[in-house]
Symmetry: C2
Subunit: 536 residues, 2 copies
């Protein structure tokens, strides 16, 4: 007998059980009204969203999520509904999935492998399950697992050994560059080893620093990808099994990495703005590459009518910066302001003249400029209820080449995990779709324009050298000796590492940004501020 | 045969294995030069400091810590040295303690209970040990455990069952109000249940949001505290056992709670400033109670010569605020500046006049004032290399009654975990030691002075009502219904909870502060910013 399965790539709202419950019911109702379906599968922790973090300690929240399961059981008794929820049993909490059928809980599975690395803290909240789960449904034996489980061959094999013909896995697997390919390869290999088809349903949507990419898929018992859903979009996909084989169906092509990165950033911005109820976004547009890319991303995420760009020139700002900023704002059709900052800079300079008498000019004066911009942008954000986007990139966040409460002021940092060289790649990629960033912005040397004729390369190694050093030090935990042995100059390595080590205090107060690497700043990299560790 | 044990309450520098190694060697050398000692015990993870966080993923760091153990073994072969370190074994890392004797590792213990709640993330890094550890030393059978272990009666009992006559436990147990009493009571009860004396050695010192209080102690086999060390200070204590009984010795009295809280804040400020290499501290002194207390704490931590206070009056600042600020600065002997902010406020008002034309006055204008103060204070901080202390308290942090990049600007937040009512208690306590805060500061109604005749009570429930609501909601995870059932007005509860739920984005960019409660903002309370959870 064939088995028709709907894979629901959904974007749950963290913490709002009632809203998520309503979405689930609506989805089920829509599906049954238009299709004949046997099974509907939702992602991990569907009812709460993922990750709910310390909301999981709230008794009212857990109670609501558990009660919702019983209400769901009667929505569509003729269909098998698979949803994820935090299951309270005695005083223990499990990351669980249930299959609901004919008004009852047919089976419950408790996640066995609780990730507690990277951005994950599941051992903070959950007890681990110890048993595979296989249930009989319409004559087929179906196994259930949750996310991290299927990254472990032994769990897949144990579920097969318990009698499964097909394995369903509910996921909230966050994106990073190349993650979809990594998933397909690894989980495909486990499917092949156990000779067990796997149906992989992933969440979608932005949640603070995480973006879930969807990209659900089905692998057959030979580990081949026989179905692939769209990435970064909510989607209901229907697949049909006959005798444990997937009936051939249309399938998305393999995702292109640069396009996935771009989509992740767009989705992350859109969801942050929408889910937090902002009336749009604003940003400081400097004429440099970072803010140019952020403007393009913001417009792609929110629409031009919801984005405002503000130039904030000082006496160090070159005319071409203003020209290019204005030009891009015009191309993209966003509201554009130009507010020179000299009056505020002069006011502070006068106010501090006595206190600073006899001292020499240093980064203090550069910071004052950046902070005057921060005050103006935050005032515009506050007045209109629009989110201020910061424009700094990962290279700058790494070495602290940014001003706290200045250019770092803002609620969300789209490029926080995008190194400078990737900023250029993404800008060129965006311009290939349609030219929105003036060419000169892509070719002129990067500058903070906080002092006369300033260039980033005055203070930092060239980004072609800096970015790979940072990736090795930050993402791969290599020591200075290892990086130097790989061919980088000791001077550049020492300088870069010293700057990274000394900038943790800035990062700790930085806006949340979208994770697209295997190690982003934020929950993913937990370093002490006070630290005697010296990488060099 | 008597056994002389030195309990070393030491303040390791996170991340600097070489510096910690040198401190350990120096301590051992000093002890052996002046005393006849059998055993010297250092706290948990002595060689790395606690918590090293993601430094534990760095291979060079782990290698250095493991190599140091072998070097330590030969420092004083005639003495037993017990130290904590992250032990690498194969590809597993353990939170371990070794006893070094006669140039060898006599025994190694691997922590069995890995805390992964509250501020702790040990399962992120460590594998758990599975065995008790008892070794024979000078004719006595001595058990070893580490911190969380002795909070579990079964581990104490298992160590006794393995033959221990005395249990040594190495700790890095962070302070919160009443923690020392809690430790003594619980661990005393486990000692009594297993009829096993416990020697408890704790770390001391501030590490970002944590303060370790020392307060080492010895409980006899009846669970009675027979020795108690000083709190919040590095100390070497010597105790002597004869036939498993402690020879009576002088002992610190039970610590007074308000005094412990005050000392925790002083120690936290001092260590943050010193360990991060600041040349002192500055703060904005408003004439209100919060900044008055922070000034007192800073002077007690750093000395008057290292602290500067800055008044930043606006047109809304009352004369008594300036008078009281100046008065306290004079009493405490700190450098005092007065920098009116009107010129900067006027500059921004003019710069934004066109953009804001037709809009009405709202919190935007209040925020501009607060941010002008932030710019001035940060400029003074940057110019001199002095740490800017923020002065906001926990009640304000809870409800978001603070301006991002304004009064929230700064590197360290001493009162971040101190609710408003406790701010008053601590101020009164400090004035009892010597009167430093003008009486009027303690008695006038709290005001942010950002609008004419503004009072906190215009926007917030009275602190006598607000603070207990916040404690129930934030620290005890009570729901609105539960708090209302406890007798609080639905209006006050609803308002407070809505403000807490909506302020996570501010807290996420706030300065690190000192944890003195059982749940502080920071690593201790991990909430999503984007959240549909509504406590009401």
């Amino acid at each position: 007998m064939p088995l028709k399965i709907a894979l629901v790539q959904t974007d749950s709202l963290i913490g709002n059980v009632a809203a998520n419950f309503n979405r689930i019911v609506e989805t089920i109702t829509n599906i049954r009204n238009s299709l004949v379906i046997d099974l509907i599968i939702f992602p991990e922790l569907t009812l709460t969203g993922y990750p709910p973090e310390d909301l999981l300690f709230r008794r009212d929240f857990i109670r609501d999520a558990n009660n919702a399961i019983f209400q769901l059981a009667n929505i569509a008794p003729e269909i098998g509904i698979v949803v994820g929820f935090p299951e309270l049993s005695g005083d223990k909490l499990y990351n669980s999935a249930v299959i609901l059928s004919e008004g009852c809980v047919l089976a419950t599975y408790r996640k066995q492998k609780l990730p507690n690395y990277g951005v994950f803290d599941e051992m903070r909240y959950f007890s681990a399950g110890t048993q595979p789960c296989v249930f009989e449904f319409k004559g087929q034996f179906i196994g259930l697992t949750i996310c991290e489980d299927v990254w472990h061959a032994d769990i897949v094999q144990a579920t097969k050994d318990a009698g499964a013909d097909i394995l369903l896995t509910l996921n909230a697997s966050p994106f990073h560059s190349g993650k979809a390919q990594q998933r397909e390869t690894l989980i495909g290999s486990h499917a092949k080893a156990a000779h067990l088809p796997i149906v992989y349903v992933n969440a979608v949507g932005g949640q603070d620093e995480l973006v879930f990419d969807g990209a659900s898929f089905v692998t057959n018992a030979d580990g081949e990808i026989v179905f692939r859903a769209a990435e970064f979009t909510e989607q209901i996909s229907v697949v049909e099994f006959e005798n444990g084989q997937l009936i051939p169906t249309t399938c998305e092509p393999i995702y292109a990495p640069i396009s996935s990165d771009y989509k992740a950033l767009v989705r992350g911005i859109r969801n942050y703005v929408q889910k937090n109820g902002f009336k749009g976004a604003i940003l400081g547009l400097s004429g440099g590459i970072d803010s140019a890319l952020v403007l393009a991303l913001a417009v792609d995420a929110l629409g031009a009518e919801n984005v405002e760009a503000v130039s904030l020139p000082s006496k160090y700002t070159q005319a071409m910066s203003n020209d290019d900023a204005q030009k891009q704002a015009k191309i993209m059709g966003v509201k554009y302001h130009c507010i020179p900052i000299e009056p505020a800079v002069n006011a502070f300079t006068d106010m501090l003249a006595d206190t600073f008498a006899g001292t020499s000019h240093d980064t203090t004066e550069e910071n004052i400029q950046a902070r005057c911009r921060g005050v103006v942008l935050m005032a515009m954000s506050n007045k209109q209820g629009k989110l201020l986007l910061t424009t700094g990139n990962k290279s700058e966040m790494s070495v602290g080449y940014a001003t706290l409460y200045g250019d770092m002021a803002g609620g969300f940092a789209p490029l926080k995990d995008v190194p400078k060289l990737l900023v250029y790649d993404l800008a060129r990629y965006r311009n290939e779709l349609s030219p929105v960033i003036p060419e000169r912005v892509l070719t002129r040397p990067p500058s903070a324009e906080l002092a006369p004729n300033q260039c980033d390369s005055d203070s930092l190694p060239a980004y072609e050298i800096l970015d790979p050093i940072l990736a090795r030090y930050i993402e791969q935990d290599q020591s200075a000796d290892e990086i130097i042995a790989a061919g980088f100059s000791p001077d550049a390595v020492t300088r870069a590492i010293r700057l990274v080590d000394g900038s943790e205090y800035k990062r700790r107060q930085s806006a949340t940004g979208i994770r697209i690497s295997e190690r982003a700043f934020g929950r993913d990299r937990r370093y002490p501020i006070t630290s005697g560790y010296r990488g060099t």
